[in-house]
Amino acid sequence: MLKISGLNSFYGRAHILFDLALEANKGEVVVLLGRNGAGKSTTMKSIIGLVQPSAGSIEFEGKSIERQSPYRIARAGLGYVPEERRIFTDLTVMENLEVGRQPSRDGAPTWTPERLFDLFPNLGRMKDRPGGRMSGGEQQMLTIARTLMGNPRLILLDEPSEGLAPVIVEQMANTIRELKREGLAVLLSEQNLHFSEMVADRAYIVEKGRIRYSGSMADLMRDTEVRAAFLQV
């Protein structure tokens, strides 16, 4: 579904990604693990077009997207949930969802505000509340719901568990499993290994802009050597 190869990206003048390659398939949850600054976020931003890769190819559903602008990539069925949430704090929950709304698409679940409120019951109770007056956990739910309004086939989740209470992180894991059941592919970046273990099928470890490990999540959890080498746990 998503196939990246030879990806190189710069952030300002700093070279961040070096010949990065990865894949995500339909109905799969794939996690990018690695320390902060390893290049996980830059990978996400390169896929959605917020960072222009200097070389390499990104194919989504067989089409090359690496030279496209973010809105075209999003309209191709790629959803992006940034780290730090970036919800529109002046807009209400309903208006935030409206910004994300795109026409429904073949081969992807179609979302409406009502369906999203089933998935995130909290949001349904605060439809007219401005985003700025919500707690961190609620904002995190909203930012995912907003992206789902675009009816994506694949969703990029950048550090969804960051800064959330453990009990909310558990809810987040349930949400991701729910999305997988709906048939969405998920590519997430994470620091929290426990959380990743709960949701991911496969894992990549990124270090200094290069993929250093790839394999199934279960294998990674068994491989104490790799974990110690790259994740210090």
């Binding site: 700093a14 320390r35 600054g37 568990s161 620091q191 994740l231 210090q232």
Partner: protein, 253 residues
């Protein structure tokens, strides 16, 4: 001996009680973790301690000195160091210059117009960077530093005025699991060596249970639990509102 004593601290915003009658204290050399759900009032509480927000009621004392109504910069001069949830450093300066700024301020040498700043307090700055393990990156710009390293810079800056108390707002946010534990280990070591009291907020329970001497739990503006890590962890109410099943953090160390 208690370094920071907070009692009856309260604050409301537009009729909503954000922090309600919160009392606790931190002793020298002790690491006290403040945890609780998102929106429980941790940040509000923190901002009242460091002078960013005026409290509606209650008292905050550093030793015998009341901090109520003081500006953040005056609180710093009394020996309160701070690190921020999102690092706040001078990005157009090198790591060493960042520490030099704190030293210049501590020594009241800022109102000078001629001699280059980066020639002053070099050795002292390097000594502080040595304590946090950052000497090899001293000449790099803060703007291009890895996040975990920025956190260390903040720690060195916070140590520049020989603090009695460190206030750390989510010190390990945005760091890799291994780095998190390493940073708090370093903090604990420095705190014990320098007899510094540390109050920190944190969402990573691995970090909290590994390094906090004591934990206080805030929910909807009120303290709902206080005590040793094991006791707090076993508290059913804390499990319900905050910890959950425990699936997303490690087993007890």
């Amino acid at each position: 001996m208690s370094v920071l004593t907070v009692s009856g601290l309260s604050k409301s915003f537009g009729g909503v009680q954000a922090v309600q009658d919160v009392s606790f204290s931190v002793s020298a050399g002790e690491l006290l973790a403040l945890i609780g759900p998102n929106g429980a009032g941790k940040t509000t509480c923190f901002n009242m301690l460091n002078g960013q927000l005026p409290a509606d009621a209650g008292s905050v004392r550093l030793g015998e000195q009341s901090l109520v109504g003081m500006a953040p910069r005056d609180i710093w001069r009394l020996g309160v160091g701070r690190t921020f949830q999102i690092t706040a450093t001078f990005n157009s300066m090198t790591v060493r210059e960042n520490v030099q700024m704190a030293l210049l301020s501590h020594n009241r040498g800022l109102m000078r117009f001629w001699k280059p700043a980066n020639l002053q307090y070099r050795d002292e700055a390097m000594a502080l960077l040595d304590r946090v393990g950052m000497t090899d990156q001293a000449e790099r710009a803060c703007g291009i530093l890895a996040y975990g390293d920025l956190k260390r810079v903040e720690l060195a800056v916070a140590l520049a005025n020989n603090p009695r108390l460190l206030l750390m707002d989510e010190p390990t946010a945005g760091m890799a699991p291994g780095e998190r534990l390493a940073l708090m280990e370093l903090t604990a070591k420095l705190a014990r060596a320098g007899n510094i009291a540390v109050l920190f907020t944190e969402h990573d329970m691995d970090v909290v249970f590994a390094h906090a001497d004591r934990i206080i739990v805030l929910n909807r503006g009120k303290l709902i639990a206080e005590g040793q890590p094991a006791a707090v962890r076993a508290d059913p109410e804390v499990q319900k509102v905050y910890l959950g099943s425990g699936a997303v953090f490690a087993e007890a160390h």
